[in-house]
Amino acid sequence: MRKFIIESGVVLPLDRANVDTDFIIPKQFLKSIKRSGFGVNLFDEHRYLDKGEPDADNSNRPINPDFVLNQSRYADSSILLAKDNFGCGSSREHAPWALDDYGFRAILAPSYADIFFNNCFKNGLLPIVLERDIIFQLFDEVENSTGYQLSIDLASQKITKPGGAVIGFEVDQFRKNCLLNGLDDIGLTLEDAEEIRQFEDSWRKSSPWYFTQTTT
């Protein structure tokens, strides 16, 4: 997994609560058997004026000029500012894959849906929870200042504003360590293979009905 240490970048404000994963990446793009290439279809139904199709050429599609992602002041943004319950709905990891592939490295929101939140960490993407008041103030500041940037330092758990003001944030220590060091979850778990085997043996003895074969 890619490490996350410090990210400094332009902030893109998505002023909408309950952004669901169908909004982030519509279902037709889930037919891909790959993990990459979803960035051009991030927020597809709002970013373009027509219906997108997988494997199609997106370069000539009509752009929705009103959608925030298409506004030049937010070009090359890498930090997404969002509202409550971001990433609700389906468990599709294609949502963080699309955000990552587009170039986002971190998200700031008052709250997230559980599965999406979890999926972000598996992909080197940092979802940060901040108080609602702080998020709303950031929306004001971003909209009133072209090229507004933030700098996020994971090790010290601090976000630095353009004027130097600092916002602290909480993060799960285990996940923080995985992000800082780019650790592979499966590799970590397999270090405990012996304990898993012991658990399994005793579980099989006490609850053998969970070990019937699915081979008929």
Binding site: P26, N123, T214
Partner: protein, 473 residues
Amino acid sequence: MTAKTLYDKIWDAHLVKQRDDGTSLIYIDRHLIHEVTSPQAFEGLRLAGRKPWRADANFATPDHNIPTTSDERRQGLEGIKDPVSKIQVTTLGDNCKEFDIFELDMNDSRQGIVHVVGPEQGATLPGMTIVCGDSHTSTHGALGALAHGIGTSEVEHVMATQCLMQKKMKNMQVRVDGQLKTGVTAKDVVLAIIGKIGTAGGTGYTIEFAGEVIRTLSIEGRMTVCNMAIEAGARAGLIAVDETTIEYIKGRPFAPSGALWSLAAASWRGLISDVDAPFDQTVVLDGAEIEPQVTWGTSPEMVASINGIIPDPAKESDETRRGSIEQALDYMGLAGGTAIQEIQLDCVFIGSCTNSRIEDLREAASIVEGKQVAESVELAMVVPGSGLVKQQAEEEGLDKIFIKAGLEWREPGCSMCLAMNADQLGDGKHCASTSNRNFEGRQGFGGRTHLVSPAMAAAAAIHGHFVDVRELL
């Protein structure tokens, strides 16, 4: 000993190891697989040279991309017109063969939506931990299993290690007391719950559904309720085991039998929350007050009773909520203050992992029997949840009732719930749907979804707009 909730009990029984910060390794008993969220996970295993930890814990069936017309299905894989969909379904089959995983392929008579097929086959058992790369895995909690959706990285993690790395959730109890009125169903109950606590109300919690109303629901009704726990923000919904649960499981293909059955059933009877178990939050609804529900917006919490009206955003004081209502009404092409019964429909979809089981189909058939779908309704379709549900319905003659009334009778799959196959709702069209999500574009680009029970969808098909199904009974 401390009193425990059902969730506490299943969690504790599966805890392999807990780190100092609370991050835990949890053993997974059953992993369900479909074609959309698994290919990248199988590829990950291949690249790392790994094998499934326990191949027999996995159970696969394709559902999301599967065509639902008989013509297409007769042709097998060749019947999948979309080449990208076809690759995905083929890839699932190839991966299951390569890694020795049990699959009910698209031509198997038992194939269907994974959350319908799992319980039907007895692959879902009380007290299990069950995961799948699909958020509606919460469905299986109806049988007293701890079941939730995961992303593709975790699909790979479970296959490789038989475990998940997790932190324990908090406990919420949603109690529905009293009795439901005639014509009010499990779907109305869960929509009313979501309307009350909101789509983020259950975030961070496992919800245990309890109370007299839940106890008197059939297992299929309980599956409808647990299915939509995720729409209330909770990854997992649970219902305590009782004799209804045990009866449902007995004799199913993957359920234990003989001496093992008696031991298992005895153990499962303990899968209930202790009387004085502490819940971090408790929500109570009165079953008698729940009316048939209809969603009017683009989030399942945007719901009203059949005799209600669509809210006026101008009367909403919270700025974020007002913005959400305005965005939703703009997308839905509806005005605040409109009566729910005035919403005109172009399409009716009866199906999905929420409502495609035999009782759902019986409920819908009883409403349309001897009547005709309204002329203004362009498409009304019934998509059974599995091959076995379809077979049962045909034995009971339900297919004939639907066809005679003007509804299409299809082959099993996810179909227009998320429209990954050819079954898509048209741009700007309103659909009465028994599915679980009314998000923008969910059932098709520009499509406008209204979530309802099978009985309400059937009544809407006949009248061309929403009506109170209780007046038809």
